[in-house]
């Protein structure tokens, strides 16, 4: 006789529930508000955490198994890449400027996301939500590490990578990304989820990762392509989490709508400004270009974003406030940005350059309404100065926006010949902004943004006291190696010499 007792058949959903949310309980020895002290002050009302729908159902055993498989492949490829001098397969070492910016500004952001998700993975009172956030926390440290490991070999041969841990905290342009992630982490748990989980991971991530990884593939950078591919399935999980989170907040209470809308407006604009760096990479820094920033925006911004906000309209969500201003900036921002980077290239740990005639022809084809009219003449003038031996360098300090921390190089949405500049007086102090979007963000929370660390005033304080050489030392920038024009740089000379060794018999 079969003694086996027939067990209840468990569905996948039921089983996952037993493996996660059934583990938690309502505490009785300690009050709930003491166990989860940060969940109330933002004003988001959650009535029933049980209504949370798990965005994916992954138990730890499956997680270890899948992730280990990906890790094995990733390190096998980057080891081979390092061993075979894979860097000599790059289209051109100019390409590395994009990677240098990535390592200095974006990889630290991955780490910040890791810490932030660990925090919300503890602070949310729902087990389902916590587990999903914890998995993202461990994924994000993975991304920070795979990026550092993939770029480590470039650091052995090229300038500009060596001091990423110093530039992250001290150099002026990384404070754009740093202030973005610091802003999200200093917010409450729900706003953090809208900032990173929704706006960054869902709305903007395709604009960052797809062009970046395609750019790497187009330009022979196997190391970066590999971490991109390897991170993709993690990113898919993160996107689902971000979307589930926003829907959950909106479904729980109608009072949440205005708060969430306000965060969407804020974080769309904050994210859009950070992505300015990507536009420049796509239009200028890739020797072999994938598509223009305008084309990427049309696909990943207008089409995908449009569909998303149509979907969210049933909750009463409107497209972000700055959407129209963003659209108006698309055909201008990469040019304005690269012109800025070029004139301040003495202060960047990456190279910039004057686009070649071919490059400019490509740009005018991609930007028929703006490039020839507004930007080609400026590049031509700069080229003339360079040819005459008097290259254009702007040793004046950039005026930085108090909110996004970019130099105020952008123009009025409806007048590309007029620099956009806004001011707000708060507690007797004057603050400067690059746009209406940034001014609005500030005015909603001035007490937060007056605290911002601004790299330019730092120049006149200890230990620099206005001395450029002291500043370079403080940010670990090696003058004549890390900075300046790509033309004539050590990176250029080395790359050409090494490639010559590899491809000729000289």
């Amino acid at each position: 006789m079969d003694m086996k007792v027939t067990k209840k058949k468990l569905g996948l959903k039921e089983k996952y529930k037993l493996m996660t949310r059934d583990l938690g309980w309502d505490t009785t020895y300690q009050a709930k508000e003491d166990v989860f002290p940060y969940v109330g002050y933002e004003g988001i009302k959650i009535h029933d955490w049980e209504k949370w729908e798990d965005p994916f159902r992954l138990t730890m055993d499956a997680y270890w198994k899948y992730q280990a498989e990906k890790e094995r492949k990733f390190y096998a490829i980057i080891d081979a890449h390092a061993q075979n001098n894979g860097h000599l397969n790059l289209t051109d070492a100019r390409y590395l400027s994009a990677l240098k910016i990535f390592l200095q500004a974006i990889s630290p952001g991955e780490y910040a996301a890791h810490k932030g998700f660990a925090r919300v993975g503890r602070e949310f009172p729902g087990v389902g939500t916590q587990v999903a956030c914890q998995m993202q926390a461990i994924d994000e440290i993975r991304h920070a590490q795979t990026q550092i490991h993939a770029m480590s070999n470039y650091n052995r041969y090229y300038n500009g990578f060596h001091a990423f841990a110093d530039t992250r905290d001290r150099i002026w342009y990384t404070s754009v990304a740093r202030s973005f992630f610091d802003d999200a982490m200093s917010a409450g748990p729900f706003e953090f989820m809208i900032a990173i989980g929704f706006s960054f991971e869902y709305v903007l991530t395709n604009l960052l990762f797809v062009p970046f990884m395609s750019g790497a593939a187009y330009n022979g950078d196997m190391a970066t392509v590999t971490f991109g591919f390897s991170a993709q399935s993690d990113e898919a999980r993160h996107m689902t989490l971000g979307l589930e989170c926003i829907k959950f907040m909106l479904e729980q209470d109608p009072d949440n709508l205005p708060i969430v809308q306000n965060w969407i407006d804020k974080w769309f604009w904050r994210g859009f400004r950070v992505l300015g760096l990507v536009s420049t990479m796509m239009d200028y820094m890739l020797p072999k270009r994938v598509m223009s920033w305008r084309e990427a925006w049309d696909i990943y911004g207008v089409e995908n974003g449009g569909a998303l906000f149509k979907d969210l309209a049933r909750y009463g969500i409107k497209p972000p406030k700055g959407w129209d201003d963003a659209e108006k900036a698309i055909d201008h921002m990469s040019h304005q940005f690269m012109l800025g980077l070029y004139q301040w290239s003495f202060g960047t740990a990456f190279h910039s350059w004057i686009p070649s005639e071919d490059d400019m022809n490509w740009l005018s084809a991609k930007y028929p309404d703006t490039f020839d009219k507004y930007y080609r003449p400026r590049w031509k003038h700069i080229k003339k100065l360079a040819d005459a031996g008097t290259p254009f360098k702007n040793y004046g300090l950039a005026k930085l926006c108090q909110c996004c921390q970019l130099p105020t190089v952008f123009t009025e949405p409806d007048d590309p010949t007029l620099t956009c500049h806004r001011e707000t007086v708060y507690n007797g102090q004057k603050y400067h902004f690059c746009s209406d979007g940034c001014q609005h963000v500030f005015e909603n929370e001035p007490e937060k943004y007056v605290q911002a660390w601004l790299p330019m005033p730092q120049l006149f304080q200890e230990p620099i006291n206005g001395d450029l050489g002291a500043w370079m030392e403080w940010v670990s920038l090696r003058d004549g190696k890390d900075n300046g024009d790509y033309a004539g740089s050590e990176d250029q000379q080395n790359f050409e010499a090494w490639r010559g060794l590899a491809t000729t018999n000289q």
Binding site: Y29, A118, Q145, I148, R170, S175
Partner: protein, 330 residues
């Protein structure tokens, strides 16, 4: 015969990133070093947290422990994401094979009712304690200072979750969903489990990352794992013919052996830093391990009955010796 393949040799410009050269000298860095040291933002933090405006975004003063360099608290296993995941993936394969073995041979059905009952009664409620451990380690990772200290805590938290899930599967295999329900009921209401639940809940309101590390990873785990998985499962149950249970908990035994090396290394370096640290650690390890020991007694009784007091006493002595070895006088 060795043939040297010829490749184009080019001269590297440098060996490692600046911050690693400053720490370890001008030589190639390991992947553990690259992925762990100085990767947390350290200076010019932009805003105060709105959730704790008197603190900084990364704030070492959340703990009473003071370190001149928090990166000194390194992990002797040198786990970064990749080595961690590969290690657990291998262990996961073994665990899977063990579950399959027990299931396919019908070993669970061969257990006597009495032993099965003991196994379910002791092990199933522990899935909730493991969830508590997950909360604490997630907290330490989130609010602790310095990646070498906080990164293994994230791995530890995910391990705690994995253990809670293995215990749930064990409950389903030896019992059914009813076993999980009964276990939760016991966790919530039975007198035997209340001291431990109170311990875990009291830890949920601790906000000093290092104290939490001591309370969970040193004191509670330091008693619970040897008592439950060595004393009860490996000795008591196996000796009576229930070695199938030991197969289902092999992951936990192996895990404890591995992770205690890291836990001890953290204590050792933190204690060696200063007299102040030593005093604080002494106070914490003393009070939390005493509390953990008394919380464990009624649970161990479920299996060992009258021998429980002695078993816990022995284990407490062993833990005390272990802590003393790290340089903390008890």
């Amino acid at each position: 015969m060795q043939i040297d393949l010829r490749t184009v040799a080019i001269q590297p410009q440098r060996q490692a990133f600046d911050h690693l050269v400053r720490r370890f000298g001008d030589k190639p860095a390991s992947r553990y070093q690259e992925g762990s040291y100085d990767i947390q933002a350290a200076e010019n933090l932009h805003y105060k947290p709105t959730w704790a405006p008197e603190k900084a975004l990364y704030d070492a003063s959340l703990s009473r422990i003071v370190m001149q360099d928090w990166y000194a608290l390194k992990d002797p296993r040198q786990f970064y994401y990749s080595t961690y995941t590969l290690t657990r993936a291998r262990q996961q394969e073994t665990a899977e094979a063990n579950f399959a073995f027990v299931e396919s041979r019908g070993l669970a059905d061969m257990l006597s009712d009495e032993l099965r009952d003991v196994a379910l009664k002791v092990l199933v409620p522990l899935r909730h304690a493991a969830w508590g451990a997950n909360q604490h380690n997630t907290f330490i990772c989130g609010y602790g200072y310095g990646t070498t200290f906080t990164q293994p805590c994230m791995y530890h938290a995910m391990d705690n979750l994995g253990i809670a899930q293995y215990l749930s599967r064990l409950g389903l295999l030896l019992g059914d969903t009813d076993a999980l329900e009964a276990g939760k009921q016991a966790w919530l209401d039975d007198a035997a489990w209340q001291p431990l639940r109170r311990y875990v809940e009291d830890c949920l309101v601790l906000r000093d990352p290092v104290e939490l590390f001591v309370a969970q990873n040193v004191a509670l785990d330091g008693l619970l794992y040897p008592l439950v998985y060595e004393r009860i499962v490996d000795e008591h149950l196996s000796a009576r013919g229930a070695s199938a249970v030991a197969m289902l908990t092999q992951f936990m035994s192996d895990w404890f052996d591995e992770t205690r090396k890291w836990v001890d290394a953290v204590l050792k370096v933190a204690a060696a830093e200063s007299e102040h640290n030593r005093d604080v650690l002494q106070e914490w390890t003393r009070s939390w391990s005493a509390r953990a020991a008394s919380a464990m007694v009624p649970i161990v009784e479920l299996a060992l009955g009258a021998e429980a007091d002695e078993a816990v006493g022995q284990q407490l002595a062993a833990l005390t010796a272990r802590i003393q070895k790290t340089g903390i006088p008890l």
